[in-house]
Symmetry: C2
């Protein structure tokens, strides 16, 4: 039934629509307003992606509500179908892989931002815990690699570049731990 799996972009669109029914243009504005629009989708990416989501039955354009004359012609507001909501929740539950956590960090943060009203607190904490574990593993591997090639690195720059990675992922790990503490404060604990 399901064809190939969704693009990252499609997943993010679907997530936004799950959060708030939106039109294509509305989504564009959201991307533009978002902290420093790191990615500004083009029309040629946006509208075809929405059509694909619609064809899969993950979203549907709201039927023009105005029963009168010309019912909101041209404006297509999409909302998520039950299938779409399920697909989105499923995506949010994708495990964090320590081998690719560095490459996918931005994506994981996106997922974290989107799971606030979809997951119960304990599942959010579980996600953050997995993220922290993956980051810890990754940094450990990086340290190990650094130690292994300590001498025969061709020059100072590669070593400094490694240091950068280490510094950044450690900061990310500290953030994850802080976020866990912050969110745990509200939800004291699953009582056991």
């Amino acid at each position: 039934m399901a064809g190939r799996q969704l693009t990252t972009f499609e997943h993010i669109l679907l997530g936004q629509i799950c959060l708030t029914p939106s039109s294509g243009y509305g989504l564009k504005r959201i991307f533009a307003a978002t902290p420093m629009g790191l990615y500004q989708p083009s029309s040629g990416a946006l509208y075809p992606a929405l059509h694909r989501l619609e064809q899969r039955g993950l979203v549907q354009a709201q039927a023009p509500p105005g029963p009168d004359s010309h019912p909101a012609r041209h404006r297509r507001v999409y909302e998520a179908t039950p299938t779409g909501l399920a697909a989105h929740a499923n995506w949010l539950r994708t495990p964090v892989d320590s081998a690719t956590v560095a490459r996918d960090l931005g994506l994981h943060l996106m997922r974290f931002a989107m799971m606030e009203y979809v997951f119960p607190p304990h599942e959010v904490l579980e996600f953050l815990q997995n993220l922290a574990t993956a980051l810890a593993q990754f940094t450990a591997q990086l340290e190990q690699y650094t130690a292994a090639v300590a001498t025969d690195l061709g020059g100072r720059h590669p070593r400094l570049a490694l240091d950068h990675g280490l510094a950044v992922y450690r900061a990310s790990l500290r953030w994850a731990e802080h976020a866990i503490a912050d969110l745990s404060a509200v939800v004291p604990a699953p009582s056991l």
Copy 2:
């Protein structure tokens, strides 16, 4: 003369070849061995890219050196042409834009790693200084944005995600400052 500008991927391939003449397979191995091959190029991306670089006259396959029987059939080792070296140096000199420094951080680190034997120390320091400035500007903007939307952020997660960005880019900035200090120690200063 020059068609459209090179892909990021093409620039990185060119840079590697400038550093060390390599075959396609050799480049593949380099990517695989590099700290956790965040990106593993496929044959379908690698070989066509090398052909494009060759057609532009940026690299050229070494003539089979063995004058005897079958001169290293099948192995194509590329080396950079003067044009290629110039294009690479030019790419390394691309300014760091504070508006996109977050998106391009990985790329800038890649460039930093590659400029060790291409640039004189003072130019490397200049690059790091520009990077630091851009990161400082970017984090300042992020802080400003955070303050502006402090109240009407819909939930806790978006705020935490912003905190993550801030933490990471601050770590990057600290690294840049550290790298400047580290490299300046060797090159005391341009004497004025």
